[in-house]
């Protein structure tokens, strides 16, 4: 276990450095990218722009610029070029909203996928299976902003069942949940479609396994055969997928949902930064996501080892 933690920590550091270099490099090859002009403002004279470039070090060599930026990030002093805000503070303040959005959505989509995937597998070929298949295809193919917009139009604008966007902190749990129901649903729909289909096909493979036949031959009740033997052995691929998807959402991949529902999370901040070609928040966002990807990759591996005794944690 100690070996596992050490190796995963090292790989996290390596990944975060690699991601930061790639993201930093990308901006150098964007043709119109000129951070000094962005900071100085549209109307600024060339002299001012040059002055800004010198002050921020944009005229130094690329490795030096990279080293300077990284030093600012790790000392928590980095500011964005657009609003002059401390980027690390922004992430810290906004992370609560993202957690509020992503954690319940993750639980919702995982449970719904297991229930719906199981129903499909148990009723394979029947009407309910086909209906869920259509739901899954629609869920996977509908763009999240469209779904969000339609839901808002119908349930917030036309009928006032739900509030029309906005975010309330968790200190008022009822309002908090009330404002987040639609966003949770939007995020979950996309994943449920995909996850429930994957689970369904795993379950159908598993039903024909010899040990499931043994379980039936032992005289176990059908429900016990299904939950203890079939379902238990079918969850592995779902867990891998969940680890990665959940990590990217925490890192800001819920940005569309955050934007449509006006939730002040890290995704919304990153979306603004991308629009402004504002390097520091994008860089921090990418590193932030990389950190979660490694963390939840490790989490998925630990879950694997718990679910399947044949797997050992080796790093």
């Amino acid at each position: 276990m100690a070996r596992f933690i050490v190796r995963r920590t090292l790989s996290a550091i390596a990944l975060i450095i690699a991601v930061s270099i790639v993201v930093f490099g990308i901006f150098e090859i964007i043709p119109s990218y000129n951070p000094a002009r962005a900071i100085a403002g549209r109307a600024a004279s060339q002299t001012t722009v040059n002055e800004v470039a010198r002050k921020f070090g944009f005229n130094r060599s690329l490795p030096v610029q990279y080293a300077t930026t990284m030093k600012l990030i790790f000392t928590g002093q980095v500011i964005d070029y657009q609003y002059d805000l401390n980027v690390v503070d922004q992430f810290r303040q906004r992370f609560g909203a993202t957690l509020s959005l992503v954690i319940p959505a993750g639980i919702l989509w995982l449970l719904a996928s297991i229930v719906l995937g199981s129903i499909s597998a148990l009723r394979v070929g029947r009407v309910i299976d086909r209906a869920l298949m259509i739901f899954a295809i629609v869920g996977v193919s509908i763009p999240i902003f469209l779904l969000a917009a339609v839901l808002l139009y119908l349930l917030a604008f036309k009928t006032n069942v739900f509030p029309n966007t906005g975010y309330v902190g968790i200190s008022d749990p009822i309002q908090w949940a009330y404002h987040l129901v639609l966003p949770w649903f939007c995020i979950a729909v996309l994943s449920v479609g995909f996850y429930s289909r994957v689970l369904r096909s795993n379950l159908l493979d598993m039903v024909n396994q010899d040990f499931v036949r043994t379980a039936r031959a032992k005289g176990l009740p059908p429900r016990q055969v299904f939950t203890r033997h079939v379902l238990r052995n079918s969850l592995m691929p779902i867990i891998t997928m969940f680890g990665l998807d959940f990590a990217t959402l925490l890192g800001g991949a819920a940005l569309v949902t955050e934007a449509v529902f006006n939730i002040p999370g890290v995704g919304q901040y990153e979306a603004q930064a991308i629009g402004n070609l504002d390097v520091p928040p994008i860089l921090v966002g990418a590193m932030f996501t990389g950190f979660f990807v490694v963390l939840f990759g490790a989490f998925a591996d630990i879950m694997y080892a718990l679910l399947d005794p044949r797997i050992r944690l080796t790093g």
């Binding site: 010899d210 043994t214 031959a217 176990l220 009740p221 016990q224 399947d308 005794p309 044949r310």
Partner: protein, 347 residues
């Protein structure tokens, strides 16, 4: 003197509806099993032997399965029994040991817990008590340090130990019928011999009846009291071990016996095999199913021969072949031993 009859299968037919047509996997199988006896069902892959025994446990039920005939366990018909009734019979009155113990045990549950699960499916006892019984059972089938080993997972067991664990599981509720579906096929020969000893011991101790499905005639000779030979979904011959091995009546049985190497004879230059392949069970041949591969085929074979006693001195030795007994005895002689022959009688 007659032992208690446990199982009586009559004209059992099992077919499956598939995309290619209806597969007649079992086509009129009848046999009985008494307390304390070992009945071997032999036949090549696809002969319907596994489907027959799985049907006894209701494991072939499904939306595409069709059943006819009956299979009575004492006075209950297993074919028409409800799923709930069957569930009480499975594992408790009829238990099954499968071919491949690594795939037949759940990879994610401890061996002991898998036995406990079966005990608790039928008896209302505590987990701890069931676990103690699981440990006892594992000791009984010769698993050393059973209390520790009960906490291990299947992948931590060797092949032979896994099969012992399967046997312990099957024995956990002292079933009256034990079905072993090729239990030694996946094991190497030394382990195979140990497992066979285990099964023999078991018959003596528990007085259950054993149905032993195999394609290995060496195993049959070692363990069986009676033998049922199946071919393409039908029983082609059945009788006592001696009747089948020393006076086989059906050419398919001759072919099976002829394709076994024997340690006590000079090895043949080439191991004889039965030419051809088993027929498609979607479009089985008219009449005798073995006809297309049989060198002794004649006009009469287009009509299905009934399974009946044809040897005057052995009323329980049944077979499905139209040939005269004396003719058969001449035809099956190949180089001083029993074989499929060539169709011509060597005088």
């Amino acid at each position: 003197m007659a032992a208690e009859r446990l199982l009586e299968v009559e004209e059992l037919k099992v077919s499956f509806v598939t995309e290619d047509g209806i597969v007649y996997a079992v086509d009129g199988v009848s046999f009985t099993l008494d307390r304390g006896e070992v009945v071997a069902i032999v036949g090549e892959s696809g002969s319907g032997k596994s489907v027959t025994v799985m049907t006894l446990m209701g494991l072939t039920r499904g939306p595409n399965s069709r059943f006819e005939g009956s299979a009575r366990l004492r006075d209950r018909d297993l074919i028409t029994a409800s799923e709930a009734e069957l569930r009480r019979i499975r594992g408790k009155e009829i238990a099954m040991i499968f071919q491949d113990p690594i795939s037949s045990l759940s990879p994610v549950h401890r061996i002991g817990d898998q036995i406990v699960e079966q005990i608790r499916a039928h008896e209302d006892i505590s987990k701890a008590a069931a676990f103690d019984r699981a440990v006892e059972l594992m000791e009984r089938v010769g698993i050393p340090r059973a209390r520790d080993r009960a906490r291990a997972f299947p992948h931590e067991f060797s092949g032979g130990m896994r099969q012992r664990a399967m046997i312990a599981m099957a024995l956990s509720l002292s079933p009256s019928v034990l079905i072993a579906d090729e239990p030694t096929t996946a094991l190497d020969v030394t382990i195979q011999a140990q497992i066979l000893e285990e099964v023999k011991q078991l018959r003596q101790d528990s007085e259950s009846g054993v149905i032993f499905v195999t394609h290995d005639l060496g195993v049959v000779a070692d363990i069986a009291d009676r033998v049922i030979v199946m071919y393409a979904g039908r029983v082609v011959e059945q009788g006592t071990l001696d009747e089948i091995f020393y006076d086989p009546q059906h050419p398919y049985t001759w072919g099976l016996l002829g394709s076994v190497t024997r340690m006590d004879r000079d090895p043949p230059r080439r191991l004889p095999a039965i030419p051809g392949q088993p027929p498609s069970l979607v479009h089985p041949p008219q009449g005798c199913h073995f006809r297309p591969r049989c060198p002794h085929e004649f006009e009469h074979c287009a009509e299905v021969p009934p399974l009946e006693a044809r040897v005057p001195e052995a009323p329980d030795h049944l077979d499905r072949c139209w040939l005269e007994v004396a003719d058969k005895r001449a035809r099956r002689e190949v180089e001083g031993r029993i074989g499929l022959g060539t169709g011509s009688v060597v005088a």
